[in-house]
Structure formats: C-alpha cells, structure tokens
C-alpha cells in the first residue's frame, strides 16, 4: 500500500518536473528569441545602414509571394462566399453574403492566411538559407570579417517581412473579394449593385487597417522566429531541415495564437474609444 502511494507520488512529481522543464524551456526560448530580434533591430540603426539588403529581401518576401497570394486569395474568396451563401440562403439573407465575406476576409482570413502562406514560403526560405550559411561556416566567415551578422542578416529580413505583409494582405483581400464577387454575381447570380452597395456600407477603412495591423505583427513574428531558428542551426543538413521545420511550424502556430489575442486587443481598444468592435 505504502509502495503504491510512493509510486503515485513519484509519478506526479515526475509530471510536475516535466511540466516545469517544458515551461522553463519554452520561456527561456521565447526570451532568447525576443533578445535576438530586439538586438538585431537595435543594431540596424547603427551605420552602415543596410537599406539595400532590406530592398533585396523585400523583393523576395513581397514580389516573390504575389502570385501565390493572388491565387490563394481568389480561391479563398470563392470557397468562403459559397459556404456563406449556402448558409444565408436558408434564412433568406443572401444579400448579406458580400459584407459578411468582406468583414471576415479583411479582419481575419486575409491577415491570417497571408501570414501562414508567407511564413511557409518566405519564412521557411529564411530559416533554410541562414541554416545553410551557418553549417557552411559562412556566418562564422562574416563574424571574423568584422561584419555584424545580426545587423547584416537578421534585421533586413525582419524589416522586409514587416513591410511586405500589409501589402500582401491588401492583395489577398482584393483577390478574395474578386473571388467572392465572381461567385455571387456570375455563378449564383446575385445582383452586382446590391453586392457592392452592401459591401461599401458595411466595410470601413478601420476594418482594413485591423487586418494590416495584424499582418504587420505576424510578419515581425514569423521573420524573428524563422531567422532565429536558421541562425542557431547546428548539425549539418539534418540540422538545416530541423531548423526550417521548427521555424515554419512555430511561426504558423504563433500566427494563429496571436490572431486571437490581437482580435481581443483590438476589441478592447474599440470599446475604450467608444466605437463598435
């Protein structure tokens, strides 16, 4: 009886210890990432200013993602508007499909899906590129050349992601609305004038900016996570694969978790200034 009790206590202690270690590891890793990113951003204000690097990475994160964003945006608009159309048809409210899609896309789906797609594409590439540079000693080479690697490699990537994300989200929103318009007006034959009129009456500029704000934060986070993972790669090709995988997965999870908190933050902000969320 006493042995059994001891064994249960041991198991509970083991679980507590595991939880404690996991939490300590998590907190310490998040702390390291924050220090890493803020250090890079602090150094970015020191000469030499790396604006050419920012443009180069902006071209990769922004221009390079436009096609995939257009494609996914248009099809997301088509799919979401169709599902909403089916639901609203049951309650004879098909005229509200346009505004509902517009609000959902600009405030939630636009920034979140853009974040997920760009994190997978550009974030993954950032982690893989930096990881390869680490295992091939290119980062060490920069270090011993007296080049500040965080300033040269990390800060420009974070700035590029932060600048590109709201623009990509705007493109996603526009393409999704085009997709929704195509489905509603051309396929299920709603009145185009009603569709646009309802959208214009419901959608406010602040709704668009909510999405842009979220996507800017997502850009900063996925770039910081993926560059951190890539920069701290070890263990050859396997290590590069693991760093890329961890960077992308953590970025995606972070985007979805952050979205909830940002939505709440924006709601509290609206309530504080007396506006309707």
């Amino acid at each position: 009886m006493s042995d059994r009790r001891v064994s249960w206590i041991d198991r509970i202690n083991g679980l507590i210890e595991l939880f404690e270690n996991t939490m300590t590891g998590f907190v310490s890793e998040v702390g390291s990432m924050v220090v890493f990113a803020t250090d890079a951003l602090r150094l970015s204000f020191k000469p030499p200013l790396r604006y050419l690097e920012v443009i180069k990475h902006f071209e990769f994160v922004g221009n390079g993602s436009v096609m995939i964003i257009c494609l996914t945006g248009a099809f997301t608009g088509l799919a979401v508007s169709y599902q909403i159309y089916l639901g609203f048809k049951m309650v004879n409210a098909v005229n509200l499909v346009g505004p509902t899609v517009a609000l959902g896309i600009t405030r939630e789906l636009g920034p979140v899906l853009t974040g997920l797609i760009v994190a997978a594409r550009a974030g993954g590439a950032m982690a893989a590129r930096l990881g390869t540079m680490r295992v091939n000693e290119q980062i060490d080479a920069l270090d011993v050349m007296g080049v500040n690697t965080k300033q040269y490699l990390i800060a420009p990537r974070i700035y590029a992601a932060v600048a590109a994300m709201p623009l990509l989200t705007a493109i996603f929103d526009a393409m999704a609305m085009l997709g929704a318009w195509f489905l509603c007006v051309k396929l299920v034959e709603l009145d185009p004038a009603v569709f646009w009129d309802k959208v214009q009456n419901t959608l406010k500029v602040r709704h668009l900016f909510e999405g842009f704000f979220k996507s800017t934060v997502f850009g900063a986070f996925f770039a910081a996570i993926c560059t951190y993972r890539g920069f701290h790669t070890s263990g050859g090709a396997k290590g590069v694969g693991e760093a890329t995988n961890r960077g992308v997965v953590q970025s995606m999870v972070m985007i979805i978790v952050l979205d909830y908190f940002l939505t709440n933050m924006i709601r509290i902000f609206y309530l504080a200034i007396g506006a309707t969320p």
């Binding site: 091939n136 000693e137 290119q138 060490d140 080479a141 270090d143 011993v144 050349m145 007296g146 080049v147």
Partner: protein, 252 residues
Amino acid sequence: MSEIAIHLEDVRKTFDEKEYVVNGLNLDIPKGSLTAIIGFSGTGKSVILKHILGLYRPTSGRIEVLGEDLNKMDNDQLTDFRKNFGVLFQGSALFDDMTVLENVCFPLSEHRRELSEGQMVEIASRKLQQVGLDSKHFDKLPSQISGGMQKRTGLARALALDPEILFYDEPTTGLDPILTEMVDNLIVETHHHRTGITSVMVSHDLEAAFRIADFVAMLNAGQVLLFGKPEVFFETDNELVRRFVAKGMKKT
C-alpha cells in the same frame, strides 16, 4: 625574446559546466611566425581557434591578441577588432550567391568604404592573382569552380583587408595529395609574401605542419602538451608526442 602576437593564459572552457574542453591552456604565439596547432581529434584545437577569434568567450583565463585583452571587449568592439584577422575556413565558406570577385570585394565594401568600386575591384583582382587565380574565373560563382580554386578564393578574401593575423582552419582536410601540396605552398608563399604577418594553422596534416611551420603546438586534453620548433617534436622523450608524431607522419 620575440614579440608576442597571441597570448593565452590559463584558459579554461566548459560548455556544460561538467567537462572542460580547454583546461588551463597556456600558449604564446610569436609575431610574424607561422604556427601550427596540432593534436588528436577532440583536444580543443578548433575551440581554441574560436577563442582567439573572439567567437567563444573563455569560462576563465586571459586571451590577449595583438596586445588587446579580448575579455575586456564587448561584442561590438570584438566585431570591430576582427578586422585585424583573416581566416581561411576548412570549406572555404565562400558566399554562394556572390561571384569569386564579389566574394573578395565584400570585406573591402564593408570596411573600406572610402574606396571607389573600381579601386575595390582592382585590389580584389590583385589579391586573386596573388593566390594564383586566373581572371577568367573572376565572374564565376563558387559552385562553378573547383575545390582548389575555392581555397584560393577563400585565401584571397582572407587577405583582402591586409590582416595582421591569418588563420587557417584545417586548410587541407579532405583534399587530395596534389591539392594539399598546392594549399601548403600557398600558405608558405602567402606567409613570406607579407613581412610581419602572423599565421596560425590548425591542422591534422602533421607532415605539412612540420614542413612549413616555424612553431608547432600540440594539444592534448585541452592543454598544450608540447610547443616549440618542429625538430623538438622528433627529439622529445614524451611518449604520447612520439606516438602521435610517428603515426601521423606514417599516415601522411
């Protein structure tokens, strides 16, 4: 007594607070010498090199390079101080998105901003020719040239800023005998080409170390087991050194 370029005093390093990779290491590398650091695998050769380069901080002990105490420098000062170094890495570590010429121009564009682009290209071309690389390869990417040419490019890049100290990290590991000899000759030529330059080579290649180095330091268990001119290693009574040298020379 000649002037000292690198001074390590009772340097200790542990990564896990249990085992010391470097354990009370003392070493003085004379200015203007070509010194080889040799030793069994896992004896701390590369770790020591990274300490001298300021990439690792020692757990305890003192590291002075060119009279400056590295422990007293913050990261920004260390970054700036590294302009005095040139390093040829084992795998050359060339930037794969830059051409051969751009690779050599890169340190100049970072630290010699007063130079025009034309002047940088001129200096880089001169360095590449100094290490024997033909101009027809200047516009190629590192992936488009051979391993030997990559080594030459890596060395030209290391020389771009006319460093005070040149480091070679396992420069011949994994190369065939002909390429090994070419790299060894390149190291000697580079060392003699610039008077006063201090060269430090971490190597597994004992034959090359004894042939080209002015001084050799053998590490064992994170300490210097023997330091001196190459002939000292053939006259010593230390059994471990004798065995290591005998096996190493036989192998090469």
